[in-house]
Symmetry: C2
Subunit: 272 residues, 2 copies
């Protein structure tokens, strides 16, 4: 991959990169199309990265379908797919990690304390391997995107980071490979995430600005759906992810809800 | 610097990089000559990196002489000098660090717990900025070289790391910018580091293989020099830096001694 990148760069060609964990859906494809539009060459990685899963999380169960993934990448005009093994990326004496001091202490980082260290580490490694000019990430993983933007700035990576809007299924459920875990009944409950975001936006539109009140009302609303368990419902500063008390400008509303055993996340910018 | 690197790489030219903290001496110049020999283009950075200094260390006092440094780089045929400010490399919301889990828990890492995190972080940043093919580091900082080699492998940096032998003043004192802190009397005491390494090698040659005995004898020897205070005297595995009990193959002997207020380090591979 590095030799390939060097060769392309010597030829003056630009490289777009979309890192994924595979089991590709229309959301991933939209990221790839965005990369395709921006650069001469499109590289997609498919790697279920063990270092971003905590103990007891779904690393072993994470859905995989490489054959179908390769077909989908070809359909959107991808030029190369990078599918390393865990042993290739993390050798037996592996010991180096990239971590951020502030952004991971919010939202998903609270229940997944080593997750963003794993993300920052693997994305750094992949940037060094793929050597892209542009990398595209989904806004569905808002905190991940914030972590990567900060890391790129702090570490002086010469890579332009593009955030790409969340794609949703009919009904509003944010597309995610993890949706494949859901039963038909759970899929109905999973609508609570998007409905909560809409409901919060309606409250803000109706001049309710007190975050505590909104979060309480939304939490009660979510608990009315079967098989749901709230990890967090948060309204925060979109830049720092610090909690806010009153909505005075655009705020990020982010939530994580377990539906059965499946942990789902979603987010929206609330605009007063 | 990044645009410059991209341009050189598009032209098929190779870049050697020597990162320094300035106040250059003949040791640095030997690293530069090594880089000069290996690549088409030689970049030297001069940056007294605050994140590798601990509280109470000599960040503020560290010797600086940019004018003389620039002349020396020019003398050895350097093509570019990169001299960022601390504010440029560490912005006000800076929060990303590269750290290693094992190698820093030995030798200098014990008395300087955040030092190698600072080194790994700044070297990663400088690699992303200078985009070298080859980087040259001194073997005098043996643990630093080990940390950087491991980091480069773990993080998939496409950079070849070259270790370059320690240069010594007459009498054997390893060249270091920090030698400028020493008074004439301290300079005599500072010879104890190299004399200790030689003495240890003589003991090994005389078939003494018990590490505890060697370390005790050397420690007594060092304490016989005025104004010395031992930080550590260690004999360890050159790959893992784990302590060894018996010398059975080539072992690293490393030591750190304060002479007055100046902390000096040196090392040698002991060969049975």
């Amino acid at each position: 991959m590095q030799d390939r990148a060097d060769r392309l760069r010597r030829e003056g060609r630009t490289i777009a990169f979309v890192p994924t964990m595979g089991f590709l859906h229309e959301g991933h494809l939209s990221l790839m199309r965005e990369g395709r539009r921006r650069c001469d060459d499109l590289v997609v990685s498919i790697f279920v990265n063990p270092t971003q899963f905590g103990p007891g999380e779904d690393l072993g169960a994470y859905p995989r379908n490489l054959k179908r993934d390769l077909e989908l990448v070809e359909q959107v005009g991808g030029d190369a797919v990078f599918t390393p093994s865990a042993e290739e990326l993390y050798g037996k004496n592996y010991q180096t990690y990239v971590s951020l001091e502030k952004l991971p202490s919010h939202l998903c980082g609270l229940s997944r304390p080593t997750h963003f260290r794993g993300v920052a580490t693997v994305v750094s490694k992949l940037f060094n391997i793929v050597k892209p000019h542009v990398a595209v990430f989904g806004e569905k993983d808002f905190q991940q995107l914030a972590v990567i933007r900060q890391m790129v700035e702090d570490m002086n990576f010469d890579v332009q980071i593009i955030g790409s809007p969340t794609l949703r299924e009919a009904g509003g459920l944010a597309m995610s490979s993890r949706n494949s875990y859901l039963t038909a009944g759970q899929r109905k409950s999973a609508l609570c995430l998007y409905l909560s975001l809409q409901k919060a936006q309606e409250m803000v539109a109706a001049d309710i600005r007190d975050v505590k009140r909104i979060v309480e009302e939304i939490s009660t609303f979510i608990r009315s759906f079967p098989e749901t368990q709230i990890d967090y419902v948060a309204i925060c500063d979109p830049a720092t992810l610090d909690d806010v008390d009153m909505i005075q400008g655009p705020c990020l509303m982010a939530l994580a809800v377990k539906v059965g055993k499946t942990r789902l996340i979603d987010n929206m910018i609330l605009k007063p």
